[in-house]
Symmetry: C2
Subunit: 304 residues, 2 copies
C-alpha cells in the first residue's frame, strides 16, 4: 500500500526547549510531501529527523502564533540558499502573505523558486488542494485568532486486477483499464466473468485530520467524522480547563471527547504545555474518553 | 575584576544545523547583560548554554538577514510568556521597528513588558547606549544591506584606595572619595602623601568589538583601533575570495588583516560557512596574518 504517514517534528506548545520543538509535522501522502505548521527551529528539526524537507511541495500553516509559524521564513530562505527551483505552495490564514512579503522585503531577499501563497477563509471549510490521488480541505477551528486545521483525504483508488485471473483467462493487456473501471470479461469459451471475480477491491481511502490549535469545538466533529487518524491538541490536563478556555485550547479529556464524538479510528494528541515533564497523565486522561489514543512523540512517524 | 565576557550562542553563517546555531552572542559586561544578534533558535540556545537570558537588558541586531534576526520574535515572545516586566531595549538597522511591529500585529500579540526600539543610522558610528560604567557605539560595516557592528567600551574606573595606607595613616572614611578622585592626604604628623602613594591605578578600560557581517572594510580599523577583543566574521577561506566579495563577506585571511591593521589585542573569528566541517583551516589562515587569533566555539565564553 502507498505510504500515508505523518512524522512529528515538534509537538510542544508555546515554547521550544533544547530537547523539543514547537508544532511542525512532515506528511508523506503517497510520496507527495507536505509540511504542516512550522515552529521556530523547524529547519533544524528536519535535519535532526532526516525527513525529505527539500522535496516538500505544500506547506500548510494553521495560524500566525509564533509556535506554529516562526520557523517558516528560515525554511523558505534555506530552500533558496540550497537553490531550490521547484514551485512551493503555501497555505495559511489571512495575513500569511504580509507575514512573508514584509520579511522578504526587509531582508532584501529573493527566492530561487516560485512561491505561491493562498490565504484561507478560516471561517468555513474550503478545498485547498486537489491532486489525482488526494485532496486537502481546511477545517475552521476555535482559537484566539483566525485558525484552521487541515483534512487530508485520499481519493478512492481503482480496484486491483487479480494476477491469477489475467494468466488463467489470458486477458489482453489493453482490456485491463476497462475491467478495473468496473467492467467484466468474456473468455475464449464465451463465459462471462463479472468485475468482482476479476478484481480485488481497493483499500478504503484514508484520511488524516490535523486540529491544532483549538478549544473544544463540537461543529468540528461533522467535518472529521470517521477519519482514520485525528491529531488533536491537548495542551492541558482537565484540571486546568479554566486556562484552556481562557487561551482557546483543549484539555486532554476534551481531545478524547472530540475523537469519540467524531467517531474517528485513532487519536493522536499533541501540543503539550511545557509545564508537563512527560505525557503520561495527558495520555491517560484522553484514553479515559477514547481508548485508541496515542501521545505524539517528537521524531516518531505514525501511519494513517 | 568585574566580568566582561562574551558567550557564543551560535557562529554558523547562513544556516543553522542540528548541531550548531547561527549568529548570536550573550555579553556580560559588569553584570549588565546584552544579546548581540539573534539567529533562529536563539531561545533554544540560551536554554542549552544556560545563560541569564531573562535578565538581558539590551539586544543589538546587526542587520536583517535571517541568520542574525530570525530568532528575535521567538525570544521577545518567550520573555512575554514568562511574564517579564522590565523594560527591554532593542537596537537595529532601519526596518527593525517594522520587522517587530508587523509580526506583533499579525500574531495579535501584546508583550508584558515595555519594548523600546531604536533604529541605527548604519552609515556612521553613533553612541547607542551610555551607562555609568560602559558605552556602546555602532560600527558601520560593508555588507549587502544596512549593517552595523557594535563597540562595547568600558569607562575608566576610579583608582583603588590602598587598604594598607588607610590603616597605616588612619585616613578618615569621608576623605576617601576625594583621594580616589586624584587628591592627596596630610597625615597627623603633617606629612603630605600624594595621590600616587595612596592609590593603585585602576585596570585599563576594556573594549570589545563585534563585526559581522562585513566585507574587508579598511575604514573600520580606525573605529576599533586597539580593542582588547575583536570578533570578526571569517565566512570563507581565502581561496573563495570571489564568493566573499560577491556576498559582502570576509575571508579568514582578511579577518586577520583587519586585526593587524587595527592593532587589536586578540581576534576571535566566527560566522563560518557550513561548508567547513571544522575551523582548523580557517583558524590557521587567520593566524598567518595575526597570531593572537582564536576560532569561536559555540557554548564557549571568552573574556575580553
Amino acid at each position: 500500500m502507498m505510504r500515508f504517514e505523518v512524522s512529528i517534528l515538534g509537538c510542544n506548545a508555546a515554547l521550544p526547549t533544547y530537547k523539543s520543538f514547537t508544532s511542525s509535522q512532515f506528511l508523506n501522502i503517497r510520496e507527495h510531501y507536505c509540511l504542516i505548521d512550522c515552529g521556530e527551529g523547524c529547519q533544524i528539526a528536519v535535519q535532526r529527523y532526516q525527513v525529505k524537507a527539500f522535496q516538500i511541495k505544500d506547506i500548510f500553516i494553521s495560524h500566525l502564533h509564533g509556535d506554529h509559524v516562526l520557523g517558516l521564513m528560515g525554511l523558505l530562505m534555506s530552500f533558496g540558499l540550497n537553490q531550490r527551483k521547484k514551485k512551493l505552495r503555501l497555505y495559511g490564514p489571512k495575513g500569511i502573505r504580509e507575514w512573508v512579503e514584509v520579511q522578504m522585503r526587509l531582508m532584501n531577499a529573493h527566492l530561487s523558486y516560485p512561491l505561491e501563497i493562498r490565504e484561507c477563509d478560516s471561517e468555513q471549510s474550503e478545498l485547498l488542494l486537489d491532486t489525482p490521488s488526494f485532496q486537502v480541505f481546511s477545517l475552521p477551528l476555535a482559537h484566539r485568532l483566525a485558525c484552521q486545521g487541515f483534512l487530508f483525504k485520499e481519493k478512492p483508488a481503482h480496484p486491483n486486477m487479480r494476477k491469477d485471473r489475467i494468466l488463467e483467462l489470458d486477458i489482453p493487456f489493453r482490456q485491463i483499464p476497462a475491467i478495473k473501471a468496473g467492467g467484466g470479461f468474456t473468455d475464449a469459451e464465451g463465459k462471462f466473468w463479472p468485475h468482482e471475480e476479476l478484481c480485488t477491491p481497493p483499500p478504503p481511502p484514508r484520511t488524516y485530520a490535523y486540529c491544532s490549535d483549538t478549544a473544544f469545538h463540537p461543529p468540528l466533529a461533522e467535518l472529521i467524522r470517521g477519519v482514520d487518524l485525528l491529531y488533536h491538541e491537548a495542551t492541558f490536563l482537565h484540571e486546568l480547563l479554566k486556562n484552556a478556555k481562557k487561551t482557546g485550547h483543549s484539555t486532554a479529556k476534551q481531545a478524547g471527547e472530540m475523537a469519540k464524538l467524531a467517531q474517528v479510528k485513532k487519536l493522536l494528541i499533541g501540543h503539550f504545555s511545557t509545564r508537563y515533564q512527560d505525557t503520561k497523565a495527558l495520555l491517560e486522561e484522553a484514553q479515559s474518553e477514547f481508548a485508541q489514543t496515542a501521545a505524539a512523540e517528537e521524531g516518531k512517524t505514525y501511519s494513517v
